[in-house]
């Protein structure tokens, strides 16, 4: 092979190598343990949301009715005690661990795996272009997720979710929902954005953000749950409030001086301009 041809081949190889490298660099490495930052939405995350606080949730009338029927005693039933948070909610709590599954020969990314501290749930985000299963396949709390890189943003699409919740005080998210997530890494900070589309219970898509900090020393702790009979109930008993009888839902509004209507959520309550509306609404008497 003469020198000019060899030179062209070397150049072509170099260009190809650079292209491949830059393509690989477009995929951020998300692997590691990420610690939740709790400066945002603390009351909603660890102490738990208050009864009757649905503000900022774009729920429709049907979901509001479900929320007002919900009784916190439900989670005392053994079959409810260890129900895990769905994947569109579980990230809100504590730390997460992310690791990669790569083809050992090609190094191509097959899947990302994500473990939540909360209930120790694990989910798989398939990165190999596979299709979602048919509708009649099993639905799970984690759902079926596929991902792709949009530049340096990991975008995930999830279907096959079981019924879950938008907020763990009775605001349901249906099993007809689909979810889009974005994982965005800025150095040691990871931002998770989740967009919930629920044709059953939402007036508009519901969007939530959470931030994490990369952890060098931390590990995700074990989380176990064992169902027990906490009180003897009649077989088949389901705690709930009949329509119009739930007095618990007033506590949040009366404690914080927030108009009842504003606490009941709806798409309008998500937007800053709703503050003007709140000022025009009657404030409930303090508790």
């Amino acid at each position: 092979m003469n020198s000019p041809i060899r030179g062209v081949l070397l150049l072509a190889t170099a260009v190809l190598g650079c292209l491949l490298t830059s393509a690989a660099l477009a995929e951020k490495n998300l692997a590691g343990v990420w610690t939740g930052t709790y400066s945002e939405d603390w009351p909603d995350r660890f102490p738990g949301p208050e009864l009757g606080d649905y503000g900022g949730l774009p729920i429709n009338d049907a979901d509001r009715m479900r929320a007002l029927s919900w009784s916190a005693s439900l989670i005392a039933l053994p079959e409810y005690q260890c129900r895990v948070h769905p994947s569109d909610y579980a990230n809100s709590f504590a730390d997460i661990r992310i690791w990669e599954e790569r083809d050992p020969v090609t190094e191509k990314l097959i899947a990302l795996h994500l473990q939540h501290f909360a209930w120790q749930t694990r989910r798989t985000i398939w990165m190999d272009g596979r299709e979602h299963p048919p509708e009649y396949a099993q639905h799970t709390s984690m759902g079926f997720s596929t991902g792709q890189w949009d530049g340096q943003v990991l975008t995930i699409h999830t279907t096959h979710l079981k019924e879950g919740w938008l907020r763990r005080n009775g605001a349901a998210r249906s099993d007809k929902a689909s979810v889009t997530e974005h994982f965005i890494r800025h150095g040691d900070i990871l931002t998770w954005t989740v967009v919930v589309n629920d044709p059953v219970y939402l007036e508009e898509p519901f969007i939530r953000n959470r931030d994490y900090k990369y952890s060098v020393d931390n590990q995700v702790a074990n989380y176990s749950c064992e169902s027990v009979v906490e009180m003897v109930r009649a077989p088949g008993y389901i705690p709930h409030h009949l329509p119009g009888t739930n007095e618990d839902v007033k506590i949040f509004a009366e404690t914080h001086g927030i108009p009842y209507k504003a606490a009941m959520g709806g798409a309008a309550t998500m937007y800053p301009e709703y503050m003007k509306v709140i000022r025009s609404l009657p404030v409930p008497p303090p508790r």
Partner: protein, 331 residues
């Protein structure tokens, strides 16, 4: 065993299925089956769920042959049989009918004809056709409904009728290396419902006492009740042992809808119990059916479970529940 081609048994089965369809008093509507595709979903190693039109079919395969739960419509039998043959070449030994409705038993005659009953010894020698056709198992009340069609409707051909019935709370069977328990769920979707529990595979074929796609059809005319459906859901929940986190463990094949586990059945039971309690409360307040309908006791569940048109509407569901709960015995 008499040899029959798939197309042959289907032609013969059309007539039988028509009778079943009319006699069932439900789902009696014209359907176009030409575009229906039968698809198989693997549930466990030797258990599959077949999806097409009508009730889901459960197929258990193994060295003993094939056992199926429900048979959908006769018009689909050739496609169903074709799909079963992709899974197993073994003989169809047993068909279990979860209840008598046409969308679940329409293919009985065709699939029975394609199978072979376990038979031998003196019986096999003395009665030449003793092994012809698969055994069809059902609760006695299902047979009664199928063999006693309402006045003016044609009788169902004997080839489509159950050949082995039970009237006790349960019937057990050992097939393909596992115990199979068939359990009666009294006065639920009908008065002849069976659920089928594959103990080693840890799968329950629920029939229409559990559906995941709409409010359950309460067939009052044939002994159904909302209380019975709730009781059946509770029985299924009692049978289920979930894995940690409740995604998996015992799997449930619904009469209609998607493959499920405990979380889905719990949500279904919760929905029905809450609606039952609301309607019962309105009845206690002296409301008429019209007043109860106007109160919309299902409004929060309707976007997920309800329908304003078709075979089974939300209004029909509320009406059936109202009639059950306002009856003297509370059924």
């Amino acid at each position: 065993m008499q040899s029959l081609s798939v197309s042959g048994i289907c032609k013969r089965g059309l007539l039988v299925a028509l009778g079943v369809l009319l006699a069932s008093g439900s789902h009696a509507q014209q359907q176009d089956f030409s575009k229906v595709k039968i698809e198989a979903l693997k549930v466990r190693d030797n258990i599959y769920m077949l999806v097409g039109s009508g009730g889901n079919i459960t197929v258990q395969i193994g060295s003993d042959g094939v056992l199926i739960v429900d048979t959908q419509y006769a018009e689909l039998s050739d496609r169903i049989l074709g799909k079963i043959r992709e899974l197993s070449k073994g003989p169809i030994r047993y068909i279990i009918d979860t209840h008598h409705h046409a969308d679940h038993v329409g293919g009985n005659a065709n699939l029975r004809a394609a199978g072979m009953t376990v038979s031998g010894g003196n019986v096999g020698g003395d009665i030449s056709d003793a092994g012809a056709g698969a055994q069809i198992i059902a609760h006695e009340n299902a047979l009664l409904h199928m063999s006693s069609p309402p006045a003016g409707q044609p009788a169902i051909a004997s080839a489509a009728l159950p050949t082995l019935t039970y009237f006790t709370p349960k019937k057990d069977l050992w097939f393909n290396g596992e115990g199979i328990r068939i359990m009666h769920e009294p006065n639920a979707h009908t008065d002849g419902d069976s659920i089928v529990y594959f103990r080693q595979s840890d799968v329950i074929a629920a029939g229409d006492v559990y559906v995941s796609n709409q409010y359950p059809f309460i067939d009052i005319a044939n002994g159904g009740s909302i209380q019975g459906i709730i009781a059946a859901a509770n029985n299924i929940i009692d049978l289920i042992i979930p894995v940690y986190g409740q995604d998996g463990g015992t799997l449930v094949i619904p009469g209609h809808g998607r493959l499920s586990d405990i979380g889905d059945v719990i949500n279904y039971r919760e929905m029905l119990t809450i609606i039952r309690d609301r309607i019962q409360d309105l009845i206690r307040k002296g409301m008429t059916l019209e007043q109860v309908q106007a109160a919309k006791p299902t409004a929060d569940y309707d976007p997920r479970w309800g329908s304003s048109s078709g075979f089974w509407t939300t209004r029909q569901f509320v009406e059936a529940a109202y009639k059950n709960l306002s009856a003297p015995q509370g059924k």
